[in-house]
């Protein structure tokens, strides 16, 4: 993974949305956002403001919608992972990093 790239895993389910990045690769931490329009828009604002190349791995309908809704400032590659294959945003972020 190049230091300039940001690898992100996003997982959505009925209770909300979880996101993790590999910016601190030794101790990636998942963050939970509410399953509300405000939770979704907060993540959109976060992702759209990144100036580094984005590598996203998403799982869940909401996560896919989010990935397609953003208009990031930097190049963005998105991988769609079937639900059930990964149930952890950190694992998704690691999956995204394998492509970098």
């Amino acid at each position: 993974m190049k230091p300039a790239d940001l690898c992100v895993g996003i997982l959505t389910h009925e209770n909300g949305c979880e996101i993790a990045t590999l910016d601190a690769p030794d101790s990636p931490e998942p963050f939970r956002f509410p399953a509300s329009p405000m939770g979704r828009d907060t993540l959109k604002v976060f992702l759209a403001g990144q100036r580094r190349p984005l590598w996203l791995a998403v799982s869940g309908t909401g996560a896919m919608d989010l990935a397609f809704a953003i208009d990031p400032a930097a190049p963005c590659n998105t991988y769609i992972v079937a639900q059930g294959v990964a149930d952890d945003p950190v694992a998704l972020a690691r999956y995204a990093s394998r492509a970098v």
Binding site: T21, E29, G39, D41, T42, A73
Partner: protein, 154 residues
């Protein structure tokens, strides 16, 4: 996990601001950041403007989260700013913004950024929190609400 209450100080809470534009609000917040945290005013204003140029940071329901990455910053800083009259800010729901959470984030502090954003979106998603916040008349009441709401809601 870091929360907005961890970094918000009484000096960071600006209520009843007499401003008529987001630029004027950013200018006042920039002055506050320089005075209390030593972050150069011009650097704050430039970082916030640079981020807004990529697209609005309004979340709807009268809430916005302007933020900027600041080179050389050691810790994150936040401000809660409430203009006397809500300001247009490009929200998708068309509502003007009454609650601004302004964040200054160190350049490589993505988890800090996400932690604060997760906390803020969790709080402001709850209309009871927004209503309670609007009743707060001074910075200490605002801080007390931010600190107590999670416990009370749990």
């Amino acid at each position: 996990m870091i929360s907005i209450a961890d970094i918000l100080l009484p000096e960071d809470v600006l209520l009843d601001m007499d401003v008529s534009s987001a630029a004027a609000l950013f200018d006042e917040v920039s002055q506050t950041m320089e005075r209390w945290h030593g972050v150069p005013r011009a650097q704050v204003a430039a970082a916030l403007a640079e981020r807004e140029a990529l697209g609005p940071t309004a979340l709807g329901q009268g809430v916005a989260i302007p933020h900027g990455r600041i080179a050389g910053l050691r810790v994150a800083h936040a401000s809660y700013a409430r203009p006397r009259r809500p300001l247009p800010f490009g929200a998708r729901d068309g509502k003007p913004v009454s609650d601004f959470i302004i964040l200054l984030i160190p350049e490589r502090a993505t988890d800090t950024h996400l932690g604060i954003l997760a906390d803020v979106s969790g709080l402001f998603t709850d209309p009871r929190f927004r209503d309670a916040l609007h009743v707060c008349a001074d910075p200490y009441a605002v801080l007390a609400l931010f600190r107590s709401w999670r416990t009370a809601a749990a």
